[in-house]
Structures are given as structure tokens and as C-alpha cells.
């Protein structure tokens, strides 16, 4: 009998849940034909530290556009979907955005595998896709409907290499997280290094979940490099810095643009001192010269984001910001039409975003260069422009 009662409770619960979930979407009053932009970010899953600020940026922009009253009398609607860092789900959700929610363009693809799957689909159905992943292959060679918002990993590596040149390093060891981000960085750093006559003497992969990287560090130490390069995000990026200093290595540490948040400094503690990394200018906006074209925008984005989301803005959210604002700019000037948006974005020059000043061309669907990045050093627990 108890079994039976439990089953009935189950049905009642299930019915209540089903009723709640299947409630029809009530129409938003006063909205005619909204202009819809789809965003697919990895809000949960392994890449959530990137995806969450991206999603929060989209929510912030949605609120701003709603307050402004939309474009040409038509409201702007930014739909957000969570891909859970799964390429299959990212693709599925992009199809939902395109085929059911009739969005006019898509922003997203937090990690490279997600962006790759989404880019293929964008090419197939011919819809503008603004990728927020940094993998070089996303925009090299350039694909008709695919645009890339972050500085490419290769751009970041080229900027990072300027530091190794600056400290007159002849050799370096490379510690990297063994995923698309780290493997991409390894290839780029090796290539640029050999161009500048700086030799990679040892490379050591580690997993995102590793808790101690001393074995990798002692192996790298045995190769006696002039500098040590770490390509990862916190917490492993911080653990690497800590382990390097704990093991008494004094070589300069260069890290990747993946450590551009306060978490790195908090976790690495004193070991963060003197670490240098390439970054977008958002982190050091206060130190930019008054004539820097990005300064007002970066200040406003940082302020607005913190007010809306109650934590500090990061460069990752900035990529979502660039993708969405670039699309809105295109819709304002070229009208809400996929092909016109694409043509407009492809010829966009001097567009000021958080990631840099974009100069797009048919050959370059990223439009950023090493000039849009700065080398940032960590001094006294805060960020300063290196040199």
C-alpha cells in the first residue's frame, strides 16, 4: 500500500511539474516583430568561467536595449542558451535559435569545439556567426559567415613572444593545459619562437583537474630554460606559478591571456608577482593614455557589467559584448537582413570594441592585431602595463 501511495505521489508531482513546464510562453505585450539575436554560451560545464560572464553580458545588453527602446521602433531581443560546454548541444541550440526562434544572427561558441560545430552550421544555413572562441583555425582561412571576436590564440602568442624577446630569452619551456586552448598555444609559441630565434626546449602537458604540477615543473627545470611559459587558466595556471616558485626556479614566468582575472592573483598569492601575460586592454583601462580610442568604452563596459552582475568584468564577457554590439551596429546601418549584416561586418573598419579596434576585411574575419593587446605584469597584486 505504501508503494502504491508513493507512486500516486509521484504522479501528482510529475503532473505538477509537467503543467509548470508546459505553460505557454505568454506573449510580451507591445512587442511587434522583435529583432532577435541568439547567443549560445557554455554557462555550465568545464568552460563555465568563460561562459558565465558571456551570458551575463548578453543579459546586461538586453536590459540596456530594452531601456533604449530597440532599433527603429522594433525591440531587440537577445536569446541566451546554455550549451553546457558540449559541441553537440551547442549545435542543437544554434539550430533551435535559427529554425524555431528565427534569430537573425548568432553569437557564441565559448570553446573551440563548440564554435567549430556552430561555424559549420552557420556556413550551411548562411547566417552571421560571431564566435567568442580564440582558436586560430576559426578564422584562418576566413569563412564567409564566420567572424571571430577574441584576439586569436596566434595573436596572443605573437604578443607574448614580444616579452621573451624583451627579456632576451634564448630558450623557453612550455607548460600547457592539454586541451584545444593549450595545444593551440603550443603550436603558435613554437612557430613564433623559431621565427625569433627562441628555442622551445621542453613542453609539458597537464590536465585541467590536476592539483599539483611539480612533476611537470621539475622536468622543465631539468631542461634549464631562460623563461618558462604557462598556457592555461586558473586554478591550474596559478598552481603552475606557485609550484615554479616553490621549487626555487627564478626564471621569468610568462602566462597566457587565460589568466586575465583576479582569481589568478588570489590563488597564486606571492607567486603571481612578476608574472607577465598578453591581454586585451580591459584589465589596465585606468593606465591607458587618454587618447586610446578604447578607453571610454572599456570604462563604461567595466562599470555597467559590475553594476548588473555584481562581479568584476572579464575579457571573456567582453568578447560577447563585441559580438552583440557589432551585430546591433550592423542592423542599425544595414537593416535586419542576414546577408546585409554579413556584408556590413565584413567591411567594418575602425570599430571600437572591448577586444580592440576591429578592422575586418574579406581575408580577415578577426580584424585584430598585436596592437590591440598589451603585455600586463602583476605587481603588488595588481595589473600594470609591462615596461
Amino acid at each position: 500500500m505504501q508503494q502504491l501511495r508513493r507512486r500516486f505521489t509521484g504522479i501528482v508531482l510529475a503532473a505538477a511539474v509537467a503543467a509548470g513546464l508546459l505553460l505557454p510562453a505568454w506573449p510580451v505585450l507591445g512587442q511587434g516583430a522583435a529583432i532577435k539575436i541568439g547567443t549560445v554560451f557554455a554557462v555550465t560545464g568545464p568552460a563555465s568561467s568563460l561562459g558565465k560572464p558571456e551570458k551575463d553580458t548578453a543579459a546586461m545588453l538586453q536590459a540596456q536595449y530594452a531601456a533604449e527602446g530597440g532599433i527603429g521602433g522594433r525591440p531587440v531581443q537577445i536569446l541566451t542558451y546554455d550549451s553546457e560546454t558540449d559541441p553537440t548541444k551547442a549545435l542543437l541550440l544554434m539550430k533551435k535559435a535559427v529554425s524555431e526562434d528565427s534569430v537573425i544572427a548568432v553569437v557564441g561558441g565559448t570553446t573551440s569545439p563548440e564554435s567549430q560545430a556552430m561555424a559549420d552550421y552557420a556556413m550551411q544555413v548562411e547566417i552571421p556567426f560571431m564566435s567568442v572562441a580564440a582558436s586560430t583555425t576559426l578564422s584562418v582561412p576566413s569563412r564567409m559567415w564566420v567572424f571571430q571576436m577574441p584576439q586569436r590564440n596566434s595573436t596572443a602568442a605573437a604578443k607574448a613572444m614580444e616579452y621573451l624577446v624583451g627579456v632576451h630569452a634564448k630558450t623557453f619551456a612550455f607548460l600547457y593545459r592539454n586541451d584545444d586552448f593549450g595545444q593551440d598555444g603550443l603550436v603558435a609559441m613554437q612557430t613564433y619562437g623559431s621565427q625569433r630565434g627562441i628555442t622551445l626546449v621542453d613542453s609539458e602537458p597537464f590536465a585541467a583537474v590536476d592539483t599539483d604540477l611539480s612533476p611537470q615543473v621539475v622536468r622543465a627545470r631539468a631542461a634549464n630554460p631562460d623563461a618558462i611559459v604557462v598556457w592555461s587558466t586558473p586554478p591550474t595556471a596559478s598552481i603552475a606559478a606557485k609550484n615554479i616558485r616553490q621549487l626555487g626556479m627564478q626564471a621569468p614566468i610568462l602566462e597566457s591571456h587565460g589568466i586575465a582575472n583576479k582569481a589568478f592573483i588570489q590563488l597564486a598569492g606571492p607567486a603571481a608577482e612578476g608574472v607577465v601575460f598578453p591581454s586585451g586592454k580591459l584589465l589596465v583601462v585606468g593606465q591607458l593614455s587618454g587618447t586610446d580610442p578604447q578607453k571610454p568604452l572599456l570604462e563604461k563596459y567595466g562599470r555597467d557589467f559590475e553594476a548588473a552582475s555584481h562581479y568584476a568584468a572579464s575579457t571573456f564577457g567582453g568578447h560577447a559584448f563585441d559580438g552583440i554590439t557589432m551585430l546591433i551596429d550592423a542592423i542599425r546601418h544595414a537593416g535586419p537582413d542576414r546577408a546585409k549584416i554579413r556584408d556590413y561586418v565584413e567591411h567594418l573598419r575602425g570599430f571600437v570594441g572591448t577586444g580592440g579596434v576591429f578592422n575586418m576585411s574579406p581575408q580577415d574575419h578577426n580584424g585584430l592585431s598585436t596592437k590591440d593587446m598589451v603585455l600586463v605584469a602583476i605587481r603588488d597584486g595588481t595589473w600594470v602595463i609591462w615596461k
Partner: protein, 345 residues
């Protein structure tokens, strides 16, 4: 017993017929790319989960199913991309390779008791995933493999969501009929005997290890078929959809549907996938400004509730409810169905 069995056979036949009709009509009603892709994903997951259920019928539970799914995908993708073989031959070849791999894995692991077999498959799953990430020259590493050749069947290039829909669901129906035949004939009886008691089955002269191996190899083959089709459908693969998370989700689908009931594969895959999508689509409308972070929590809680209230899966749950309701109406027949047979029928 006799009556129960023929009722079951009839029910399965009606079920298959119903499935064919519904799946033939569905694309007329739901024709967006999203709906078709969702149905295709459900179809692929049904194949993978059906494999788990065949395995479950022999009393084994695997946490490495995503590894076989992934091996099928990588095998067919690499054979067709690197060697230039046509996908219609690499898909069966991939299934054979994975079946062989499953045989090798099964030799030592199937000797373990159920509890430890789960752990062993979990280990196999993690090792396979690490290899996918690590063997960069072969697999493309974590960034994945792009531009996998499309499937061509009898001169027709299978490319659209709709074409894949018919392909995948034809495979599902065939796989379902095959699974039904296996579980309801000699092998099925042997498997059920093993499920009830391995020692008892052996005493009856059933070659326990042979049947367990058959179930294991077959379950891996189902997953490999789904993986190979997935690779040529999406045309991009990376290690992440084949991780431990995926194995856990396949197991959840199987358990939600009912681990020993062949319909559990279909129902579980559909319920979990649709529920996932419905929560994601509807929740923000009920509670504005909600994000994916809430959804994981709610999904977890729902999983707990289903397991508490429908521990034998929702197919069984629904049958029990019907039976219980019937019993309330006709109290004279009380007692029937109070005992819970283990085989889920």
C-alpha cells in the same frame, strides 16, 4: 506464464507498429531543423541506451558506454577521412572494430562481480577519453576532427536533417526489433536467468560467461553504430561528447527508462533529452533572468525525484500506475501485480 508471454509479444508488436507510424508522421508536424536534429539526437541516444539495456538484461551496468560510442565515431571518421574509404563501408567496419575492442575489454572485466564491473567500465571510459585527447597526430586532440566525409547511400548523398532522420529512425526500429528478439527468445531467457542468479543459471547448464560476453559485445556495437552515424551526420567530432559525463547521462537515460526493458531505451533517451530541452526553454519564461546554472540544479533534483518515485524506470512506473488504477476500480482482482518481477515486464 504462457498468457503473460503472448500478451508481452503482442504488446511489443503493437509498440513497434505504433513507433513506425508515429515516427513516419512526426516530421510532417515538426519540420524545423531544430526539431529534426533533436529527434535525430534522441534516435542516436536510443541506440546507445538500447545497448546499455541489452547489457542490463544480463545484470551488468556499464559506465563506459560513451567510450564505445566515441570509438565508433572516431573509427569511422578516421577510416573515411584518412584512408578515403567510403563511409558506407567504414560504418560497418567501425562497428566490427569496436565489437572486437569490446571483446578484448570484456575478457577480463566480465569476470568481475557487478559492483566492480561498473568501476572497470568507468576506468575504460576514462582511459579511452584520455587517448582521444592525447593522440593529437591521429585524433586531432582536444580541438577535434573537422570535415569528416558525408555519407553516400546508393549514390544519394545523405546530408539534410530530414534524410538523417529517416536513416537514424530506420536503424532504431531495426535495432529495437533485434533487441526484442534477443531478449524474448533463447538468449533472452538465458540472460534473465543470469540476471536472477548467476550461480543458478550456471547450475541450469547456461554458459554464463558466453551470454554475458554476447550482451556486452552487442551493447558496444549498438553504441558504435550510433557513434559512426553521428560522426558523418555532424561531420565534426571532439573528445568532449564522449567523456565520463556522457556515460553517466546514457546510464541515467537507461535507468529512467528502465534498465531491463527494451522500450526503456527509447523512452529514457526521449524523456531525458526532451526534459532537458523543455527545462532550458521554459524555465526562463516562468522565472525571467534565470540562467543555465539553475538548470543543472533543477535537473539533479528531478533525477532524484524520478529515482525515488519510479525506481524501475518510468515505463514500469506507467504500467504499474495503470495496473494500480485498474486495481482500485476492480478491487476483486487485488493481489495481481503486487509482486515485482525483476525483468521489468
Amino acid at each position: 506464464m504462457r498468457g503473460d508471454r503472448s500478451e508481452r509479444v503482442r504488446r511489443d508488436q503493437i509498440g513497434v507498429a505504433l513507433l513506425v507510424v508515429v515516427m513516419a508522421v512526426l516530421p510532417v508536424l515538426l519540420s524545423t531543423a531544430y526539431a529534426l536534429t533533436l529527434l535525430n539526437v534522441i534516435g542516436l541516444y536510443t541506440l546507445v541506451t538500447l545497448g546499455l539495456i541489452l547489457l542490463g538484461s544480463s545484470g551488468q551496468v556499464s559506465l563506459g558506454q560513451a567510450a564505445f560510442y566515441g570509438l565508433g565515431a572516431y573509427a569511422s571518421a578516421l577510416l573515411s577521412k584518412d584512408l578515403g574509404w567510403p563511409p558506407e563501408t567504414t560504418i560497418p567496419l567501425a562497428i566490427l572494430l569496436v565489437a572486437a575492442a569490446a571483446y578484448v575489454v570484456g575478457l577480463p572485466t566480465l569476470r568481475l562481480a557487478e559492483h566492480f564491473f561498473v568501476l572497470a567500465t568507468l576506468g575504460v571510459g576514462i582511459i579511452v577519453n584520455v587517448l582521444m585527447v592525447q593522440l593529437v597526430p591521429l585524433t586531432g586532440g582536444a580541438s577535434g576532427l573537422r570535415d569528416i566525409p558525408p555519407l553516400v547511400i546508393a549514390g544519394v548523398r545523405v546530408a539534410t536533417d530530414r534524410q538523417y532522420y529517416y536513416l537514424i529512425w530506420t536503424l532504431v526500429v531495426v535495432a529495437l526489433i533485434l533487441a526484442r528478439n534477443i531478449t524474448s527468445h533463447r538468449t533472452g531467457r538465458a540472460l534473465r536467468a543470469i540476471l536472477a542468479s548467476e550461480v543458478g543459471a550456471a547450475a541450469l547448464g547456461i554458459d554464463v560467461s558466453r551470454y554475458k560476453m554476447q550482451a556486452f559485445v552487442l551493447s558496444a556495437s549498438y553504441a558504435a553504430l550510433a557513434g559512426a552515424v553521428y560522426a558523418h551526420y555532424i561531420r565534426f567530432i571532439s573528445p568532449s561528447p564522449f567523456s565520463l559525463y556522457a556515460s553517466l547521462f546514457f546510464l541515467i537515460m537507461a535507468v529512467v527508462g528502465g534498465l531491463t526493458n527494451i522500450w526503456g531505451g527509447l523512452v529514457g533517451a526521449a524523456a531525458v533529452t526532451v526534459l532537458d530541452q523543455v527545462i532550458r526553454a521554459q524555465l526562463p519564461r516562468v522565472l525571467p533572468r534565470i540562467g543555465g546554472e539553475y538548470q543543472t540544479a533543477i535537473y539533479g533534483i528531478l533525477l532524484v525525484l524520478i529515482m525515488i518515485f519510479f525506481p524501475s524506470g518510468i515505463v514500469r512506473g506507467a504500467l504499474d500506475i495503470r495496473r494500480a488504477l485498474g486495481r482500485v476500480h476492480a478491487t476483486g482482482r487485488a493481489g495481481h501485480g503486487a509482486a515485482e518481477p525483476v525483468d521489468g515486464e
